[in-house]
Amino acid sequence: MITFKLTPEQELIRASAREFAETHILPIAGELDEKQEFSRELTSKIAKQGYMGIIVPREYGGAGADVMTYCLIIEEISRACAAQSVTMSLTNSLVAGPIINFGSDEQKKKYLPPLARGEKLCCFALTEPNAGSDSANQETTAVLDGDEWILNGTKIFISNGGVADFAIVIASTDRAAKIRGLTAFIVEKGTPGFTVGVKENKLGIRASNTAELVFQNCRIPKANIIGGPGRGFRIAMDTLDGGRVGVGAQGVGIARAAFEAALKYARERKQFGSPLIDFQGLAHKLVEMQMEIETARLLTWKAAWLKDQKKRYAKDAAMAKLYGSEMATRVCHAAIQIHGGYGFIKDYPVERFYRDARITELYEGTSEIQRMVIASHVLK
C-alpha cells in the first residue's frame, strides 16, 4: 500500500518543472526580490507551462492533475523563487480550489478557464485589521438590496491584491449569526467602489504583490456568491486546509535551495587548510538539514495523498504546514551559518531564502494556529 517511488509521469513532471524554474525563474529571482517587483511576464510564462491550472479540471482548461503533482511543482518553483509559488498557490488552491469545490457551473465556466490560461489573476481576501488569526471576526459586511449585495469593508495583506482581476472576498451577511453569517463573494476589478489601497513593503517574498483592498458601497450581483449565503466560513476553512499542503511544499522547496547552496559552499570554501565540509561540526549540520527536509516532504506527500484519496486530511495538512515552515526557517538559518559572513551578504542567495522562509510560518494560519488545529484533532 505504501510506496515511496514516483511514477515515471511524476518524475517527468518534476524534471520539467525543475528545468523550467532553473531556466526562466532562477536567473531573475534575485533582481525581482531586490526591486520588489511582481513580474507579469514571468507569471504568464508560468501559466503557459500549465502551472496556474494544475488542479483545474480539463473541461475548464486546466491540466486536471492531482494534489501530489501540485506539490511536486510547488517544491521546484519555490526552490527557485518562493514568491512565484505564492502566485501559483493563490490561483490553484486559494481561488480555483473553492470555485471547483463550491462554485456553480456558471462560475466554473466563467472564472476557471482564464485563470488556468493565466489571462486573469486573482486573490483570496479573508484577513482584516481586526480579523487575523481570529478570522471569524469579520467586519466587512454585505447587505442585500434587491438583486445585489452592497459590500463595505477593508481587507489587508492580500497576496496578488494589487494585480488581481477578481477577488474572492469573505464578508459578513448576518453579524448576529457570527461564523454562520459569513459569505464568500466573487468581486471583479472595475466594480465601482472597489479600490486597491497600500502595497506592502516586505521582508520576504518581495516579488509577490501584497496589498490592501477597500470596498465602499460596492454592488455585487447575487450570482457572485459562492456556495450560498452563510457558507463563507466553511469555504474559507476548507480552502485554507488545502492551501496548507502547498505551504508545506513551499517550505520544502525553499529549504532545499538553502541546503544545496550550503552544501556547494561547504565543498568550495577552505579554512584551516581544508574544505568546510571536512569539519564534522558542519557536516553534521548538513545531515540534520537534509533529514529535516525529507521529513517535511514526507509529511507533505502524506497530506497530499490523503486529499487525493478524498480522505480527511486537515490535521495532516496542518502538520505538513507547521513542520515544513518551521523547518524551512531552521534550515535557512543553518545555511547562512555555514556561509559565515558571506551568508549575510546579498551576493549569495541564502539571505533571500531566509527572508522568504519566514512568511510560511505566518500566512494561511500562523504556527500557533496550526498547533491549535492539530491539538483539536489529537487531544480530543
Binding site: 515515471p8 509521469e9 517527468l12 531556466t23 500549465g50 502551472y51 491540466a63 492533475a65
Partner: protein
Amino acid sequence: MNIIVTIKQVPDTNDVRIDPITGTLIREGVPSIVNPEDRHAVELGLSLRDEAGGGKVTVISMGPPQAEVALRQVLAMGADEAVLLSDRAFAGADTLATACTLYHAVKKIGVFDLIICGRQAIDGDTAQVGPQLAEFLNIPQVTYSVGARLENSKTLLVKRMTDVGFQTIAVPLPALVTCLKEANRPRIPTLRGCMDAYRERPFHVWDASYIGAPVDDIGLRGSPTQVRRTFQPSPRGNGFLLTGDAQDCVLRLVGLIHERGLV
C-alpha cells in the same frame, strides 16, 4: 508535413566514469538523458510541423525497454507518436547496424517528408548514423544544420554550419537533416504535455521481425566495427594565464613563445 525524428537515450556524460581496467563506461548509477542534440532535432521537427500548419512528428529510438522514458520525454515536448525499437537482436549494434535498423523502421512507417537526427550522440561521438540512414534510404542529406524552413511543400531551405561560415542549401523532400544545438532552444515540456505523453499519445514497441530487419544486418552480427582498444586521452598539462597590462602580457607571451621554441 510528416517528420520522423530519431533519438537516443544516453548516459549523462557529465556524470560518467571509465573503468580503468576494461576501458568501458561505468553506467551504474549514471542518470540517463535524451541525447542533447536530439532534443534540438525534436524542436526543429516540431517547429517545422507547426510552420507547415499540420502534419505529424513521429519519434523513434532503438534501445532497451528503459529507453521508453526518453521517448516519453520528447512526446511531452509535443511529438505526436513514438516508436521504440526494442529486441535482443538489436543489441551490440555499431553505427551501420543501427542505421540499418532505423532504415527498416522508417520503411515500416512508410510515408514521410523529412527525417531529422541530432548530429551525434554524446556517448559515441561518431556522427555517422544520420548520414548512413540517408544512404540506406537513398535520399539527400544535409548535415550540421543550424536551422531550416520550408520554401514550398517540396523544398526545404537548410542553413548549415561549416568551418568557414554558413551555407544555405535548398534540398528537395524527402530528405534527411542532422542538427546542431545552435539550431534552437528546445521547449520545456508543459504539465499537460507530460501528462499526455503518458496517457494520450500512441506508443509502439516494434521488434526485429515486425520491421522485417534481417538478423544478419542488425545487432552485433550486422556490425563490422571492431573495438581494438579504448583509452583515456592523457590530460593536457595545466594551462596558465598571463594577467595584467595588455602590452606587458604580449611582451611576456612573445618571450615565452621564443623561450619554448614554439615557432
